[in-house]
Symmetry: D2
Subunit: 345 residues, 4 copies
């Protein structure tokens, strides 16, 4: 019953095997290995971005921050949701890599920015006035940090607002695959309209690899230099490209995301039938925010379940306590059912 | 005949196996896995640094830059050799991570700074005068970027100069193991006197992992924050600790370095007998800088040998051209001998 | 009728005369002139900070940013009001000088943070967790950016919250003098409890000079280096110390602030009697935010009045439009009365 | 006998008077005052740069650093003389403002880079290779930091090398006027070929003002934002434009530089006749580096002469000690002659 995070489960055996195979003999370092060329081709096809510049980075924080630094001047501001990973969970990495750009927080009901709120946030900046920071990129996360997923229309509406103001748009796709699986669209549908995409794989069955994708290859060289300067260019880069190649091969990426989402959906269905449970918001992919009584938190932990409790375990038994539950590709129906049984008590 | 770099060879099978084993089931992310505690204990013992704060990072550039940023204020300067990796090969990573500190280059015959030159460089700064940058850490690389190795006495003399001026000392130990193997000393001998050590493993048979070691744990929390902020904290950190644990286990680190150095020594011995060869400097570990005729460069490349030629392949046959040859743990006596035969013509 | 800003009026003649006198012959550069020693002594006495490290800087933005950079690590966040000058009007200077620290915005009714809201904001950060930025200084502005003034009790309550969490406290005192004049307290009362004070003079009758005051002289040398590195150390520094000396002499600073506040109070009293006027918040020093009909905006501008209208001049005559009115030391009762007459129509 | 620096003498009375006049009444802040428009027009004419973007900044360090930050990416390197002010005397300001660019030092006999050495330095960088920093602007100082002046041909040769490599060229003209006076050329001759010029006035009779001049106005807005963000945008900007207007009016700038150079030439002529004096290099404007016996240093200081002695006053009387002598616009023939008499003993 490990529902703490999708970054704590195992990598998929096919990914591990690919890494083993990549260890055969010598390979050109720094991304010049053959596998990287194949990865580049596959991702361009998958995303429907035929000219994209594509690079691999080992962590999601680095991918976001390096991409944003390439897109954003130090005297600009990045528009993002008030609960965005780049705002809350990267210890200021975007500020560091951009040399001090700001983040302007956009109201986001259910963790999703609306076109209207985005427009308000953009209008609130004094663009063109020297005393304030200037408008920079819009960064959208989906699956959001609360487990919701933008519909393609919602997503498009945000992209259109950015376009209207001439601002580039970045997708934090740490859970790109889970969002595609949730919407039942294609990867190219999801990618539509973005200037830059952090295409995540670490949380979805890899060891540690993400793709940085720029629609316009004019960004390529600057990104390469920033990646190197940030200490993120791997010498034995073949171990990154091997993971990503296996991840893309035979749609393993989608299969794993579907598996994670299915386990999560099973949990959600069960949770809706437990009257002491309140879902904090919609749960459309592989993550659930919910409250349930403190006693149930204790019962679950005693039984070895792992998940985040956002509150103290000291206090009245029946007081609702906030929890986060995340399913990765390896989550099983059995574990989900067992979790539900123990929670219900 | 792959002598291009020690970052292009395979990882040791034991390292790969450890990574596979680490993939079993769930593990706490971000370095909280059990293996990290074991790695920390082993490295403290090995280096004779019982209180050391120890962290893992995936690249050497990041390890150096993050450590230096923790040790150096933006208005200080780092003293290093004029051919130091941090000066020449990191695309300004130290300047980036320190928020704009300087590097002051120290004369380094055979790529080794002397105590006298270090003292001159330190004295040349206007410490205490507000118009100039202030004195910061001294950074020493061994094995040096030209394949030489400081004797323990030479190393100690540099540390003593730094101490005299109250400056902290950093060791860029990307090839720490090869230096230990070269000197026949212990790892603790090598570590003696340093405040901070980048303990490399990537170039010596791992996939991508280095340890950042601070003698004084007072640096620990700031380093953790800088690592996270730099995008260098791995969620699936177990894959870093697994590599390092295997690397340390049964002195695999030393065995691999000895193997690389032995292949290199075999090459050097053979090269000394070829009259068209000139060694550019002493070659005391696993790297050789040398010149030999352009025709021999061509012959070797035609035969599939891989190494760096620092010069054009167009030009007179008998003109000497600079080359760099590096042996990794998997270099064989057979390949070395074959290389020599082809070079000799 | 110039009410656009307190940075657009003339310097006081005594300040100009002091600058002229300072031009006599040679003077040691960079703050070593005698006048600086006198300024330091006077300010220590005035503020009741006998050990304070005190430096002069030419602009308020630089003073704030340099002080905050000395107090705040790059991986920390600064707590300030949502309308703070450091947030809205410095084009990201705090982020630049701190190498990418964040600003966490605190709810501030009437532009004044409450102890409760400050506590909430501090509690909202994940201090001690590596994924988020860490708690840094609290920055308080008084006179606030909306013209309100913290009572000494309100100010003390904020300082106490900061103390409780072990956070240093910065005062953006660009209008320090107007706040003292408003409260009728002493400068030392106002300074009580702060670790660092930006003591403004530019807006209150000087040409361009602010004092950076650190209660603890341990910050002195780092501040000096950051000032130099920021290009803010004046070679002909005597022209800064001359201004500040004249400003402090015979309480000219207080006299000018009282004059500005008096003109503002006269305006406020008159505005309260005009039924088409709505004051946006309390106006306790030398600045007023208010709305009045568009037609009156036009009438005033036609008559040569200068002030900021926050809205278009196209639209219905009787629609309320937001305005900002600021009085400097040279504002007169006559101009205030004339402004009121024209506004009333 | 004040020869310590040209930043320690008085401002010219005409400059002070202009500042006084500028204090009359209200003026639009932040450079919108009428005088700034006039200054912009005058400088464009003087420098023969009809489209130039021109801004005022209060210090030379800030002017250089802000201009270079606008011209140079963080992952590039600036080519400059090994004794350049930006290297030695700005406490790392260029590194700070550029967010961590490097400075590559060019050999500079007599403090003047040669075209050949510049070419060597540019060639030494691994441009196009991701591991090293990339080529950025060339920065030339004249009058150099040792008192020499590039001939127009020497200057042009450097500009041509930069052009050949496609690199922009910056002139640190802190002593622009003294260089023009030395060469007897026009300001436009001096400005020829530069993309960016720091046009100094502080050292030559102003209180504190420099012009940042960009040949291509495409840099304007970014520079404005960086100036604001650096805390270098003056609210009471009229006091900067007043100084600069007086400085340009009636060629006061040239007159003052000629006066400073003449006093210096008189000193040099006298020094050549004193056999215990050795000039360290040519002295072509208003600054002299020389050695003379320690006893003479003591005699001069006892007589109240002010200048920099680069060495201890303890030691043998007749040992040569290095000194720096600088003349500003107010230096007199009488003081020069008196200095020579005392030195000669």
């Amino acid at each position: 019953m490990f529902f703490a995070s999708d970054n704590a489960g195992p990598a998929h055996p096919k990914v591990i095997e690919a890494v083993m195979r990549a260890n055969d003999g010598y390979a050109m370092p720094y991304g010049a290995e053959d596998a990287m060329a194949r990865v580049r081709g596959k991702l361009r096809d998958l995303l429907g971005m035929p000219n994209a510049a594509i690079y691999l980075v080992a962590t999601g924080t680095a991918t976001n921050a390096l991409m944003l630094a390439t897109m954003c001047k130090p005297f600009q501001t990045i528009f993002c949701s008030e609960v965005a990973h780049i705002e809350e969970d990267e210890c200021g990495a975007p500020e560091f890599f951009t040399s001090g750009a700001k983040l302007t927080l956009v109201d986001a009901p259910q963790a999703k920015m609306t076109a209207e709120h985005l427009r308000e946030a953009i209008d609130s900046t004094a663009d063109g006035v020297v005393h304030g920071v200037q408008r920079g990129p819009v960064s959208i996360t989906t699956v959001t940090e609360r487990g919701t997923v933008y519909t393609l229309d919602e997503q498009k509406a945000l992209v259109n607002v950015a376009r209207e103001y001439g601002l580039p748009v970045h997708l934090d796709g740490a859970r790109f695959a889970n969002a595609v699986a949730s919407l039942g669209c294609t990867a190219a549908d999801m990618a539509q309209g973005f200037d830059a995409i952090s295409f995540g794989a670490t949380k979805n069955g890899c060891m540690g690899v993400e793709a940085a994708v720029f629609a316009d290859p004019a960004h390529a060289w600057e990104f390469e230099l920033r990646r190197k300067r940030g200490g993120h260019l791997f010498s034995k880069h073949r171990f990154l490209s091997a993971q990503m190649e296996a991840y893309l091969d035979g749609d393993l990426w989608l299969e794993m995301a579907q598996s994670a989402n299915a386990a999560c959906a099973r949990l959600v269905a069960g949770l809706r039938n437990i009257k002491t449970v309140t879902l904090a918001n919609d749960s459309e992919a592989n993550m659930i925010y919910l409250t349930f009584p403190r006693a149930a938190h204790r019962r679950l932990k005693d039984a070895g379940a792992q998940f985040y409790s956002m509150g103290t375990m000291d206090g009245p038994d029946d007081e609702p306590v906030l929890a986060r539950i995340v399913c990765d590709w390896s989550a099983t129906a059995e574990n989900a059912d067992r979790f539900l049984r123990i929670l219900e008590g």
